[in-house]
Amino acid sequence: MKQTKNILIVGVGGQGVLLASELLSAVAVEAGLDAKKSEVHGMAQRGGVVSSHVRIGEKVYSPLIPKGEADVILAFEEAEALRWSFFLKPKGTMVVNQYKLVPPIASMKGFDYPQDPVKSIQTKIDRTVLVDAEQIARELGNIRLVNTILLGVVSRFLDIDEAVWKKVIRERVPKGTETLNIEAFSRGRRIS
């Protein structure tokens, strides 16, 4: 991987954004690359917006991705995909989990959840990959697999050996769920 790859992972507090970026950086380090990851904790636990910057390359300086420089955005939620779309490179890829989380504030005057976030994203961004990770997770019989499925999708856009991914996943997921997680990863990796 000659050039630094920038991956922005976004979603809502509690969705597992930080776990996903943790695993992604572990994969990079396992592959012998330099990696930096940055996020701000604090209010995240209380239903706030969460974003995590991951940068992977031979040598990485800034832990923050400059605006308009993300190669891939992985959005766990549709409105969040829209919120962060300006971070994407002109030819970058937006991976959107087809899932809506409407905040309570939407019931107050003047605050509306976007009409059709996916449609707005598709009109703005050429390369959009839609994933119904909940549906796949349900098919596999465990809703907790959403995270691994989405990482599987992202893995296709990074030049890191599949075996490295699988090794790290095996090491990091709860005991007994290794096989299921590997299957979830492979399902995600096949989506284009």
């Binding site: 930096k36 996020e39 239903g47 300006f86 905040p103 504030i105």
Partner: protein, 606 residues
């Protein structure tokens, strides 16, 4: 948190590489460089330092009740000759400022690191003060790591400086360094002996007559530290183009490297005292000199005072956090970089905000709903309950710093002539931090205010840390469990009531009664935090509630208790009003919404 056998990464530590946050790296530094005692009071972005240090059985760790006490305990340990670290968020150092300043004339015989985690951009703080000024104020060295490797290394270097020069060392971190994860090489622990206290009253007892002898000693110490600053590898030049020279520090160094890799860069790892001679030589070697620093012109002012020309704050303002774009923009404005052709990126969108709100089952919800109903004048304090200020609860009129609520309420009552309707709300951790003296004063002042202690039995806002009222400590179970009612009684409060904030009517009636009389009263709410209940730290879960769609009239009263579990459903009433929906996974069954529903449409699930 209970003590675990293994710490961050691998304990036996062959030269293994792993990725750690800045905070985890400081904790690892505590382990490797032989720290014996580490103390703190939680505060974002510093909290994970002690949480991780506590995983090493070699280190005595404690959550002290506030930063001043944390500092004093650590100070005592280093007087005894132990290697010591105390950590706090930037505003915590204001609380600990008294011992911080006075220690200057004493020194730090065992080695002493003070971590100040500053928060440029105010991600989770009330201000963005730049604590490097504290180092200058007290005459201590200031070390500024730019990534996790340096965060760990600087603990070791800092301890050596501290011992060699008999001086406390300020390790100044920022949110971006604390919470970014970068690669770190792990090493083994270097064990050191606790030397024992050497009696020396002239040094350890700060009398005016002693101080007059010690002050010249401290001035001389600073002169020696300035000489060290000229030679330390922490302050290094990375030679590049001779046209542009950039002096920078902390994480800003990374942004500069990213944006202008060809410039000559002076990286300051030790930003106080400055290596003025080395900077002068650097300035002479380049055509144009910039100082790119986050927040205040701490470096720039000193360089200019030394008669060296440089440019800084006119291009990078002292507001907020820097990032690669801001560094680049400043260099464009300075005429050094050319504006890149506008990239074809998607325009930024205004998308519905997600302000933080009380969790489902949060005990603060009932309290602030009641306070709003009663139109109380609320001086509030710092913690999760501060969120009661936000719409739709909108209860809370002032909030300044930890412990202020009671003093401010007393002042209002004195200015107004009585305390009726004035309510000070304060969390349990905040009450033990700095509310007790305020209450004692309120009693002494015969102020007729109402003090509400929102006792959820944990320090929730910062992620659920124990305090002397929870019965557990950083070293594990068996901690003290202070009885708040007894404390209030001992401080002289007579009218003390305990209410269950899940029972709205009881909470309302009690508050109303106490607000109407002109006597000092204390009300303690007694429901534990739903997210971090101290007993088992598993989320509170009772039988969830549901909306009876037949009965719901779409009045949205339940939405005004501001619960993440309640939303509008797709069902509408005949008048076209949307009915409510309760998410059964999020609902904890606290029943507050059921109690406000005017038509009893919210009922328990079967």
């Amino acid at each position: 948190m209970t003590k675990k056998k293994n710490g961050t990464g691998n304990k036996t530590g062959a030269a293994m590489k792993t990725i750690l946050s800045g905070n985890e790296a400081v904790a690892r530094g505590c382990y490797e460089y032989g720290i014996h005692v580490a103390t703190a009071y939680p505060g974002t972005p510093s909290t994970e330092i002690l949480e991780n240090a506590a995983r090493y059985p070699e280190i005595y760790c404690e959550w002290s009740p506030n930063e001043k006490v944390a500092f004093e305990v650590a100070m005592g340990a280093t007087f005894e000759g132990a290697r010591t670290l105390v950590a706090m968020k930037h505003v915590g150092l204001n609380v600990a400022a008294d011992p911080f300043m006075s220690m200057s004339l004493i020194g730090a015989p065992g080695g002493f690191i003070v971590v100040s985690a500053d928060d440029p951009g105010m991600h989770s703080s009330q201000n963005e003060q730049d604590n490097r000024y504290y180092a200058k104020f007290a005459g201590y060295p200031c070390l500024e790591p730019s990534d996790s490797q340096e965060a760990k290394d600087f603990v070791g270097v800092g301890l050596d400086i501290s011992v060699d020069y008999d001086v406390p060392v300020l390790l100044r971190m920022t949110t971006r360094v604390c919470h970014s994860k970068t690669a770190v090489k792990l090493g083994k622990r270097r064990e050191t002996q606790v030397k024992g206290f050497q009696r020396d009253p002239q040094k350890f007892v700060v009398l005016p007559s002693h101080g007059r002898i010690r002050h010249p000693w401290a001035v001389e110490r600073l002169r020696k530290l300035a000489a060290l600053s000229e030679n330390t590898p922490m302050n290094r030049v990375e030679k590049g183009s001779s046209q542009i020279g950039i002096i920078t520090h902390g994480v800003t160094y990374q942004y500069v490297k990213e944006v202008m890799p060809d410039a000559s860069i002076f990286k300051l790892g030790m930003s106080y005292p400055l290596p003025v001679g080395k900077i002068k030589a650097f300035a002479d070697s380049v055509d144009r000199l910039f100082v790119v620093e986050e927040l205040e012109p701490f470096i720039e002012e000193q360089i200019k005072a030394a008669g060296i020309a440089c440019e800084g704050k006119i291009f990078w303002s002292n507001l907020g956090e820097l990032n690669p774009e801001r560094v680049e923009q400043g260099l464009v404005e300075a005429g050094v970089l050319r504006q890149e052709a506008k990239k074809q990126t998607a325009p930024s969108e205004k998308v519905i905000p997600r302000p933080p709100i009380f969790c489902p089952g949060c005990p603060h919800r009932g309290l602030y709903y009641a306070l709003r109903k009663l139109k109380a004048r609320v001086t509030t304090d710092i913690g999760c309950y501060t969120l009661g200020v936000l719409p739709p609860l909108e209860s809370g009129d002032t909030c300044v710093e930890m412990g202020a609520s009671i003093g401010v309420a007393v002042g209002m009552a004195k200015a107004r002539g009585n305390g009726k309707g004035i309510v000070a709300t304060i969390g349990d951790s905040t009450f033990l931090h700095s509310g007790m003296t305020g209450l004692l004063n309120a009693v002494n002042d015969k102020a007729g205010i109402t003090v509400v202690i929102a006792d959820n039995r944990i320090t929730a806002m910062t992620g659920g840390q124990h305090h002397p009222g929870t019965g557990e400590s950083l070293m594990g179970p068996g901690g003290f469990k202070a009885d708040l009612a007894k404390i209030c009684q001992a401080l002289g409060a007579v009218r003390i009531k305990v209410v269950d904030p899940y029972r709205l009517q009881e909470t309302l009636d009690t508050l109303k009664q106490e607000m109407e009389n002109d006597e000092l009263s204390v009300i303690i709410t007694n429901r534990p935090c739903a997210l971090f209940p101290p007993e088992n730290r598993k989320r509170v879960r009772m039988k969830p509630f549901q909306v009876d769609l037949e009965k719901c009239i779409g009045c949205h009263t339940c939405l005004r208790v501001s619960c993440p579990a309640i939303s509008e459903s797709h069902e509408t009433t005949e008048k076209g009003l949307t009915k409510s929906h309760i998410d059964p996974v999020l609902c904890t069954g606290c029943s507050v919404c059921a109690q406000v529903c005017p038509v009893q449409a919210i009922i328990p699930t079967e």
